[in-house]
Subunit: 156 residues, 2 copies
Amino acid sequence: MITESLEEYLHEHIPLSKAMQVSVIEANLNKVVLSAPLLPNINHIGTAFGGSESAVAILAAWSLLHVRLDSAGIPCTIIIQRHSIDYEQPVPKDFTAQAHLTKPEGWERFIRTLEAHGRARINISSNIKCDAQQAASFEGDFIAIKPDSQPHSSQA
Amino acid sequence: MITESLEEYLHEHIPLSKAMQVSVIEANLNKVVLSAPLLPNINHIGTAFGGSESAVAILAAWSLLHVRLDSAGIPCTIIIQRHSIDYEQPVPKDFTAQAHLTKPEGWERFIRTLEAHGRARINISSNIKCDAQQAASFEGDFIAIKPDSQPHSSQA
């Protein structure tokens, strides 16, 4: 899925991404970079709302897995199971979320599990940056479910 | 701060709360309950977007601390330092976030630290519920900073 169609997909299917004015800067197998302007995501002290930062981080992580599974010819439903985020620095301007596999060496095993059981879990990290400075660290567990399997006990 | 003015405050100062159509259902010293409709918070599979759930959970937790500090006569700037959330069940309808102090017995110590050092940290939990069923568990560390102190290395 190319950059433009990913942005269109997010805005159409996850309306909060449109409310946050999320743009797709880069989307390939190695990383997904999303950006969001400060204004629709501002908080009571004039910096980015933590809820916006974590939401954009989730979208970047979800998108990376989406792009990789599409590219592997295994389109799946992808849901988030849990996440944590550390807010390290205030974000006084527009910001980006850059997603990458937390352990790239686990990808092959993830695909084998997915093929064998119809679902598999993988951890994805997203870094929130502002002016190229690290501002927040997100990591989350995502579940991919093949179309012929049913999700349970987790959600996006 | 009463229910109505809290909702007005959130919508005015954190515009994402308005985009998510967050309402204040209850706001007192013991708990804050916020609600959000599914539609502006929907995802690609027709359930609530995890980013919306965590954002509403943050707002509920932040609001509880805001209400308690206002009531104690210590208005502070409140920022979030970190959080984690487990998405336990899909949310196919409107949902609520109900915040409470994770360890109520730690409140007095929190206030003593705040008075002595101008800032203090406390953990607050929020439960996401849908049709009165538990759907997600959030906990986060929040920092309260008295007006004459300066924040550093953390943000909302």
